[in-house]
Amino acid sequence: MRSAVNEIKTERIASSLSWIIFVLFVVVFVNMMELPRIPIEAPDKDALRNFHIATGSLLFACSCFRVYFWLQSPPQKKQGQLPIEAYNQLHTLQFSLYCAFIGQGLTGIVTAWSDGLMQFLPGATTANHALWALSGYLHSVFAFFYLAIIVFIALTGFYHMIRYRVWRFRIFA
């Protein structure tokens, strides 16, 4: 009985976290589309970049908790008409999406730190061009990675909906 209650609690927290991650992702994504078009010396640039770092760090933290809950309690199939492999494929993709957000967050923090934008020790000189180039490249890699995963979640989700005639968006949940 107690474990069943814990399970419901875990599911609720995990579900809430997923929604928070979704909202944060949309905010960061809109910011990310706007940010590169603003000239580096423009006054808006700093504000938008700081906002990007703040919301990106929140997204990173939420994704860490979401992965923790996922590992504690991997999603179990609840749709009777959907084969277990199809359900697991969707959720493996979703798990990878959360991992991509963690990778994106880690490389983002290193990029900001090696660019001198984020400091953990006051007054410390942390600028390092080689590290900035490498972490910046990886930050970009993870951005393409999560975009590819999102496309595949949508494609495989709709494919399974049509193939197995499961007309419920809950298969993504």
Partner: protein, 183 residues
Amino acid sequence: MLNKMEFYLKTTKKRHWLLILILFAISSYLPYLIFGAYPFANKTNATPEEIELLTQSLDLPDYYQKNPETITDEQHQLEEDAFANWDGGKCRFCHSIKKNDRDRMAPNLHRILGKPAAVSENFSYSSAMIEMRNNGLIWTPETINAFISNPEGYIPGNRMRMEGIKDPQTRELIINYIERESQ
């Protein structure tokens, strides 16, 4: 009775994880393919002696003798916009220009005029650009103009993934800005 994780791992196919690996491998290549980004930066591409050797037989003018006060503020703003804005050349998004500017993902352009190609610090050049340096390419207003009008056509295989600036006036403003900011 299997616990949840064991059940999940038992019912997940290897091909699901293979798809994710493939997506990651493709994603690793895309920043290079689309933006020309490169994850490693060479500290030094040419020593001052090597640069001297590449330019010593050439009779190049001093590109930085212009008086910066001979233009109006409006003209200066036009030049800066052409260099920095998204609607202009977009140069500033990847290149730094001022003396003490932090290097970005493309070479610093401070005092680029009169320098051989592929000699700036903190950047890994494409083999196409290094070949052009070895063939004697020197950055002058004319060669920069030709390069930025059609980068891929002028140096095939280089990593500046830009369409090229078709408007001659924008190109002129950019070159003037590079000269002025290097004074």
